[in-house]
Symmetry: C2
Subunit: 255 residues, 2 copies
DNA sequence: CATTGTAGAATTGTCGACATTCGACATTTG
DNA sequence: CAAATGTCGAATGTCGACAATTCTACAATG
C-alpha cells in the first residue's frame, strides 16, 4: 500500500526537473496521499496522526513525514499542537460551505484585478474560447460531471493566473491542489449533475469573460460570486442527501 | 545575535504551556526573527537563504531551520524550489497593495458571516464598545499611529473571531502574525498619520459594528472594504514617498 | 567565439539515534 | 473519598552524518 516512490528506486532516467518546474518530492507525495485519505474519510475527524506510524506506512522516515504533516496543516486538513502531535480536523458541511464562500471572494478579487489590467488581451481571448468550449460541452446532455468540473476549473485558472497578484495566485493554486477545495472540485464533484446547472455555469463564465473584456470589474466579481454561490448550494444539497447533516443557514450568503 | 532561546538554557521555571495554549517552539521563533529580518530589508529580494547558514546563526540544527523556512513560505516571504533552496521574495509596492486587497475581501466575508449569525449579541456589544473607544482615541489629536493601528486591529479581531468559519479565522489570524500584513499593520504602520484619517477609520468601524448589529451583511462588507481600501491608499501614498516607486494603477480597486 | 561536457564543491534530502516533553495511571496525602 | 503528586511509557523535538542532487568553473570541441 501507499505507493510513494521511495528513494532507492533510482531510475536511470532522472525525473527531469528542469529549472523552474517543481519536482515531485517525497513529502509532497505523502501529503497528497495522506490528504486524500483524510478527505475520503479513512481518517476520522479528531483522530490523531502518528509520525512514526505514517513513516512506517510509506516506508520513509520521520523527517519527510513531519514535513508532509506541516503541509497538511497549511492545507487545513490537520491541526497541529506543539509537542503533542497532529489531529485530523473534522470536515463538516459548514466547513465545506465556508470553503466555497472563501473561494468566491478570492476568485472575485482575481476577476476584478484581471479586468483592471489593460494588458491582457490574449488571456481574454483564451478565456472566451474556453468559455465557448464550455457552452458546447454544456449543450450536450450526457457530459460527465467530473470532466465538466475540470473544464470549469481550467477556465478559472486561465483567469486568475492573469491577475498579476502573486499572493492571490498562490492562495488559489494551493487551494486547487490538495486542499478541501481540490477534492470537492476535482475528485468528487458535488455539483453539475444536471444539464441545467451545467448550462447555467457555462453561461456564468461566459458572462465573466465578457465583463472582463469590457473592463467591468464590478460585474465580473458579481458574476463570479454568483457562480460559486450556485455551486455551493448545489453541493450542499447533494451533501445534505449523502450525509444527512444540517447546514448553518448563515452560510448561505448571497449577492 | 539572534537571541532564540536555545535548547540548553533549560530554565528551572518551565514555560508553562498548559493545555491548549500553544507553546513557542524554536522553529516558530526562528521563523518570526527571520521573517522580520526579511521585512526589514536585511535580506534582499532574490537573495538565497542557506539552511546551514541560518542554523549556524541561530545556534540550532538544520531540522528546525527547515521547518522555519517552510513556515516563511506559508507566510509568503520566501519561495521554495525543491532541491534548490529558498529565495527571498522581493516586496514590491504592488505586492503590499495586493495584501490590502486580499485582506479587504476576506475581512468583508467575515463581516458578512458575523452579520448572518443571530447568536452573537455579546460580540456585537464588545465591538460597539471598542468602537466607541476608537472614536474617543480618534477625537484626540496627539494619538500614536502605532497604538491606533493596534486598536483598529483588535476591533477587527473581535469581529472575525465571531464569524464561525474556522478556515477564515485561521487565514486572517495567520496573516496578522508574521506575514507581510502583520508587519505593515503592527510594526510599521503606513496609515493613520493624520487625525482626519483616524477619525474616518473610527467612524468606518462604528458603521461596520452598527451594520452587523442590524444584520445588514452587505453593508458591513461594503464598509469593511472601504475602510481597507482607504488604508491601502494611505499606505501607498506613504510608501510612494518613502521608496520612490510607482504602483500599478490597476491595484487601486474601489467599491 | 559560442556551446557542450565534465569534474569538484556546495547544498538540499534523508535517515537513525538521542533528548525532552506530554499524558495516563498509580500512589500518597489531606 | 477527593485532590495532589510521582512515575512511566510513548510520542514529538532535535541533532549529526550520510546520500543525492544541483550549481559553478573550467576545459575541450565544433
Amino acid at each position: 500500500m501507499a505507493s510513494v516512490q521511495s528513494r532507492e528506486t533510482t531510475q536511470t532516467t532522472t525525473p527531469r526537473n528542469r529549472r523552474g518546474e517543481r519536482a515531485r518530492t517525497i513529502p509532497e507525495q505523502i501529503a497528497d496521499h495522506l490528504g486524500i485519505a483524510i478527505l475520503n474519510g479513512e481518517y476520522k475527524g479528531g483522530e490523531r496522526i502518528s509520525e512514526q506510524e505514517v513513516a512506517r506506512l510509506y516506508a520513509s522516515s520521520r523527517g519527510p513525514v513531519r514535513e508532509a504533516i506541516r503541509a497538511l496543516e497549511k492545507r487545513g486538513l490537520v491541526e497541529l499542537f506543539p509537542r503533542r502531535g497532529a489531529w485530523v480536523v473534522d470536515i463538516t458541511l459548514d466547513a465545506i460551505a465556508d470553503i466555497f464562500n472563501i473561494r468566491a471572494v478570492l476568485l472575485g478579487l482575481a476577476a476584478r484585478n484581471v479586468a483592471a489590467r489593460p494588458d491582457a488581451p490574449e488571456a481574454i481571448a483564451e478565456m472566451l474560447s474556453h468559455c465557448s468550449g464550455l457552452r458546447v460541452q454544456a449543450a450536450r446532455d450526457d457530459v460527465d460531471p467530473v470532466a465538466f468540473a475540470l473544464a470549469v476549473g481550467r477556465t478559472g485558472g486561465i483567469m486568475y493566473r492573469q491577475c498579476a497578484t502573486p499572493h492571490l495566485i498562490r492562495m488559489l493554486r494551493d487551494q486547487n491542489q490538495g486542499s478541501l477545495w481540490g477534492l470537492i472540485w476535482r475528485e468528487r464533484p458535488l455539483d453539475f449533475f444536471t444539464a441545467e446547472r451545467r448550462r447555467e455555469t457555462a453561461q456564468d463564465w461566459s458572462d465573466i469573460a465578457q465583463a472582463i473584456a469590457q473592463r467591468d470589474g464590478a460585474r465580473a466579481e458579481r458574476v463570479v460570486r454568483k457562480a460559486l454561490y450556485d455551486s455551493r448550494d448545489g453541493a450542499m444539497a447533494t451533501l445534505k442527501v449523502l450525509r444527512g447533516e444540517t447546514v448553518d443557514p448563515a452560510k448561505f450568503i448571497r449577492d
